[in-house]
């Protein structure tokens, strides 16, 4: 074709990135990679390898080691061996290593970008302009956290050896999100990249060598799901961090249930992309390009559910169709394409199957008119209209360039539809009215909300989901906390079976000889005293065995009722912080008034000395959380660009609390109060040692203006109630402070809705100290951070 013909056609023509340097690098490694263990390349045992291919043309890139359990063991041992020396380094020295990694990533940025693109299929524009720059940014940011670790996280220590498993959609970026905070906090790492995309992780291993990172601090082990499973189950691993599918996330939660492994999960999503009638529609359409047509739609936070206000739906759909016609699908190494190749045949099949299913369920499928490349794994940008909330394509994560569009009428309906999902990772809201945008942002249950924008990331701003999108955050301060734990925790004693009997003098109770008026203690549900569904009561005995009274024997139906009541009381979260503080102070006031009678009753179980301490400390602790109620605030981040990111502290929702046995009253207060101070509603099961406490507590709550349903108390046998609570899909978090077996049980049973789990791993907290019994640790578990990105400027 002549220049004259090109002058007439004004087509773009090919603009290939030259992969020569990257291929030379692969050749230098003889296109065969071993594991990176203890700073060295170690062949897999047995010598099993698999292929990593270029999805755009099917060509073999390299042979990759298949990690066996023995390989994983070697890597974990190397990480364990490296741990003491790594932790002994000053934070400043660790910061230097992280800084060196950031610099080295920048120095080799193009090689890394090209490797990423040929291994994954993503457009070179994205790997070059987005993925790799964000990798460098993440290491810089965390070099900073390493530097200020002692000041900012005083009293915390690293988890130890961290096992990390990352997905194939952003291979190197997810590696950075995992490794940077782990190292900054002083952990050592065994990381397993996804089997489809292991190459940049191996390139990263070489960077670790180049900068002289101490051997064993970072170990990279490749392989498929079996390798990941071996890592998850390895007893010497202290924490698992996983990004990937919700299905595998569940399996990992279950597999780690009977261990004290800390766990963070970043899972799937079906994120809403909400467009109001006063939005800049053309810009919103570009937002979709950056949302669902970014990385072929293989993005956990992709705006895959389009919610359009009815009045603009028709115009918007027309604009989207026209825009799809202009998207260019082609070779990922072409600098002028928008959509590259799908990572693997299995993924392409899944996308095709789900789109077919969508159409068979009545959806209208729009795709651009142009042809796809003949060779390679490609799928066109796709818009599905006539989709309804009940459609499969509106519920299931497709993980492809497929947008499912629905309409709404009002703001309220938009929020309802946006939240009508088991996921809660991200959302995008488009409106030129700041009142509308921020109200919707506040109401959508998602860890990240982008106002008039989408898919913006920064190392300083936490990322992570609500609900089945996982728990834990990556990035920012909250991301660092995932790799730290209170320094005292590892040495805390195991929980004792039941409080030791004490034989203190008991204060006189009523007139001897005459029968006192019977006092029937009931359950406390929805602000009312309720008889147990079972119609049974259980005996409560004093330390010396005498019968103190009878407590209702709650069952699963009582739990059901309590959860319903707690859910109905969610308005509590919207109560102004000052208002919550007022109620909490009032609780302290009323507790104080009943100090003597509560003490005397409690003393019969735990002894006078402990009873006095429990009641007095409880009053103080309520005061503490009344104080915290309006002080434990979010942050404002300043990511690059003209932008504020509001890191809001939001209540988690309804929290189930299994109270500790060792301090029946103080344990209850120490857990219930931070939960309600942060706006949660709770269903608490008091210790069976003294469930009669409920009778005192509800009188206190009733007289303190605490709205009904904020605190619900069900007495009974904790081991039975635990099961119903852990399995309940309308509970957002469960806290278990009982023995080791209970911790394991709660973790294993929580996988239904992947509720957030916080347990003591069977270790006793010293509730009588401020260091272990109150403060940030509790507050941080009582909130989740929602990052709302608000670009501004006219």
């Amino acid at each position: 074709m002549s220049i004259a013909q090109r002058f007439v056609s004004m087509e773009y023509g090919p603009a290939p990135e030259d992969p020569k340097e990257a291929l030379t690098w692969l050749d230098a490694h003889k296109r065969k990679f071993s594991h990176f263990i203890n700073g060295e390349w170690q062949s897999p045992q047995p010598a099993e390898y698999f292929d990593s291919n270029d999805p755009s043309n099917g060509e073999l890139l390299a042979k990759i080691a298949q990690g066996s359990a023995a390989d994983v063991d070697a890597a974990v041992k190397a990480a364990r061996a490296a741990l003491p020396a790594w932790q002994k380094l000053t934070p400043h020295i660790r910061a230097r290593y992280l800084y060196a990694i950031a610099r080295q990533v920048q120095k080799h940025s193009r090689r890394l970008a090209v490797l990423e693109t040929i291994d994954n299929g993503k457009p070179i524009r994205e790997s070059r302009d987005i993925d790799i720059p964000l990798v460098a940014r993440h290491f810089y940011h965390h070099a900073g956290w390493a530097q200020v670790l002692d000041q900012e996280f005083h009293g915390y220590t690293a988890c130890g050896v961290v096992g990390q498993i990352i997905p194939w959609n952003f291979p190197m970026l997810m590696l950075a999100w995992k490794i940077a905070p782990a190292l900054a906090a002083g952990n050592t790492v065994v990381l397993k990249p996804a089997e489809f995309t292991p190459i940049t992780a191996l390139a990263f291993a070489e960077i670790c060598q180049e900068i002289g990172l101490p051997k064993g601090v970072v170990n990279i082990i490749t392989g498929d799901g079996r390798t990941g499973e071996a890592l998850v189950k390895h007893p010497e691993v202290d924490k698992i961090a996983f990004t990937g599918s919700t299905e595998v996330g569940r399996a990992i939660r279950k597999a780690t249930a009977d261990s004290p492994k800390k766990l963070s999960l970043e899972l799937g999503g079906k994120s809403p992309f909400v467009i109001f009638d006063d939005a800049d529609l053309d810009s919103a359409v570009e937002g979709l390009v950056d949302g669902i047509w970014f990385n072929q739609g293989q993005v956990c936070c992709a705006g895959s559910r389009l919610l359009m206000q009815e009045s603009i739906a028709e115009a918007l759909v027309a604009k989207i169709r026209a825009r799809m016609e202009n998207l260019r699908v082609g070779s990922p190494l072409d600098k002028a394409i928008d959509i590259g190749a799908i990572v693997a045949p299995v993924q392409l099949d899944r996308i095709k199957r789900l789109v077919e299913q969508g159409v068979s369920e009545g959806a209208t499928c729009s795709q651009p008119s142009y042809a796809l490349p003949a060779k390679g794994l490609y799928f066109p940008p796709t818009l599905l209209t006539n989709v309804h909330p009940s459609s499969t394509v509106a519920q299931e994560e497709i993980f492809g360039p497929v947008l499912a569009a629905m309409t709404f009428r009002t703001l309220k309906e938009a929020v309802e539809l946006a939240n009508n999902t088991a996921y809660g990772l991200a959302a995008s809201v488009w409106s030129e009215n700041i009142n509308v945008a921020l109200q919707v942002a506040a109401q959508i249950k998602a860890g990240v909300v982008w106002v008039n924008s989408t898919n913006m990331f920064d190392a300083a701003c936490g990322f992570g989901g609500y609900r089945e999108s996982g728990y834990g955050r990556e990035g920012g301060r909250e991301g660092m906390l995932e790799y730290l734990q209170p320094a005292w925790f590892k040495d805390a004693p195991k929980v004792k079976p039941s409080p030791a009997a004490k034989n203190d003098e008991l204060p006189a109770d009523g007139n001897e000889g005459e029968p006192s008026i019977d006092r029937t203690v009931k359950l406390y549900i929805g602000g009312k005293q309720a008889r147990p569904d079972s119609g049974y009561s259980m005996a409560v005995r004093a330390a010396d065995g005498t019968l103190l009274g009878e407590a209702p024997l709650g069952n699963r139906k009582d739990i059901r009722n309590a959860v319903e009541a707690a859910r109905k009381a969610e308005g509590w979260a919207k109560t102004a912080a000052h208002g919550k503080a007022q109620v909490l102070y009032y609780i302290a006031e009323n507790l104080s008034q009943r100090r003597d009678e509560i003490t005397s009753r409690l003393a019969r179980v735990v002894g006078a000395k402990q009873a006095v301490a429990e009641v007095d400390l409880s009053i103080q602790r309520v005061f503490s959380y009344a104080a915290w109620a309006d002080k434990f605030d979010g942050r404002v981040h300043n990511p690059p660009g003209r932008n504020v990111t509001l890191a809001m502290h939001e209540a988690i929702g309804t929290i189930a609390i299994l109270c500790p046995t060792e301090a029946p009253l103080l344990g209850f207060i120490s857990l219930a109060l931070p939960a309600i101070a942060m706006g949660n509603t709770i269903v608490a099961v008091p210790s069976e040692a003294y469930p009669l406490i409920v009778g005192d507590l509800y009188q206190v709550f009733d007289t303190s203006d605490l709205p009904g349903g904020v605190v619900n108390i069900v007495t009974g046998r904790p081991t039975e109630l635990l099961k119903t609570l852990a399995e309940h899909d309308d509970i957002d978090a469960i806290w278990c402070f009982r023995d080791e077996a209970a911790s394991a049980q709660v973790k294993a049973l929580s996988i239904g809705n992947l509720k957030q789990v916080w347990t003591n791993d069977g270790r006793a907290f010293d509730w009588f100290t401020t260091a272990q019994g109150e403060g940030h640790l509790f507050l941080e578990h009582a909130i989740q951070v929602k990052n709302i990105w608000v670009p501004y400027g006219e």
Partner: protein
């Protein structure tokens, strides 16, 4: 820009990316193909409905230039296209007849013969679209360009501020048309935009259009003065309703001239206007466009936001002077493989 009503014309929207072909296959771009915009009555609803999110438009501009690029033969072809879309301009206080003659000579032969030969593009007869001058030099330019198919454009209406009495501004248009200018670049009264005086703005532009007669009218919005993209979008729509054949960013005299975000907003306004009326209005970024690379970015923006038909001189112009020299250097590099120097190319 949001349009909440009359949004049912699905086909019109999809056409925005593929409008009817009108002589776009022709390699010659002369004034013959300039089709007038008939305008429409002022519709204030369309103004009210305009929504522009500045940050989002800026992100679009930033990502657009990284999403599209042309290389090798395609780049050469695109750069040639940029030349054919140029309004080669001189608007200085020290302009003289001789200076204008020199510019016209360059307009006729923008590329050295050896480059034309090496690129094999003799048949394209590459020349710029128009020469843009002050009224005083219209006759000089018309004479110099006679028979070339290159138009003469006159900046008018009290350029660049546009604040002389209306009668004088209208008279100026008439005189330039009488002198032979085929294109008139008018400036709007920016105050009308600040005050939201859309009727006044509409009347002003419509008056100029009437004075232009058969001459093609480009309305300069002075986007650097308008400050917000929202204002740019509103002024664009009013100017088109009032019959502007082109909308143009700047006089080149404002502190901020043609920027890509402004271009995107104006291109989208053109798209909406086309959707409503079926009439294709042209776009002219002017000021601050100096490099070959910029010319490619602007062409890519037009192709992406409006489609290939808007890559022709009848619907797209660059207001530039220095850009040509850089394009020549890049074409020389393409032809020879060696980097060139400014002084090796004849100046305009």
């Amino acid at each position: 820009m949001a349009v909440r009503q009359n949004a049912t014309r699905d086909e019109a929207l999809s056409v925005a990316s593929k409008p009817p072909q009108k002589e776009s296959s022709s390699v010659h771009h002369t004034n013959n193909s300039l089709i007038p915009n008939k305008g429409m009555p002022l519709n204030l609803d369309l103004i009210d409905e305009i929504e522009i999110n500045t940050s989002a438009v800026e992100r679009r501009a930033a990502s657009l230039v990284t999403r599209r690029t042309v290389k090798k033969e395609w780049q050469a072809a695109w750069l040639l296209r940029a030349i054919t879309c140029m309004d080669l301009t001189t608007l200085s206080g020290d302009d003289t007849h001789e200076r204008v003659l020199r510019l016209c000579a360059k307009a006729r032969r923008p590329l050295q013969q050896h480059l034309v030969d090496q690129l094999g593009i003799k048949e394209l007869d590459i020349k710029v679209a128009a020469v843009c001058v002050y009224h005083n030099f219209v006759e000089t330019a018309v004479t110099a360009l006679e028979g070339t198919g290159i138009n003469v454009a006159a900046v008018s209406t009290g350029f660049p501020a546009g604040l002389s009495p209306l009668a004088e501004r209208v008279g100026e248009v008439r005189r330039s048309v009488e002198a032979g200018a085929q294109e008139i670049d008018i400036v709007i009264t920016r105050a009308h935009v600040f005050g939201g005086e859309w009727q006044a703005l509409y009347d002003e532009v419509a008056t100029f259009k009437e004075a232009c007669g058969k001459a093609h009218m480009k309305a300069i919005l002075g986007t650097g003065d308008l400050l917000t993209l929202r204002n740019v979008a509103r002024a664009s729509v009013v100017a088109m309703m009032a019959g502007s054949d082109f909308i143009k960013t700047s006089t080149g005299k404002e502190t901020v001239n043609a920027t890509l975000p402004v271009g995107i907003v104006m291109a989208r306004a053109i798209r909406e206007y086309f959707r409503h009326t079926g009439m294709m209005v042209g776009f002219k970024p002017a000021g601050g466009i100096r490099t070959a690379k910029q010319s490619l970015e602007w062409l890519a923006m037009m192709k992406e936001e409006l489609g290939t038909p808007w890559l022709n001189a009848d619907l797209f112009r660059f207001g530039a002077s220095g850009m040509l020299a850089d394009i020549e250097r890049q074409l020389e590099h393409f032809a020879t493989g060696r980097y060139s120097a400014d002084y090796r190319h004849p100046i305009a």
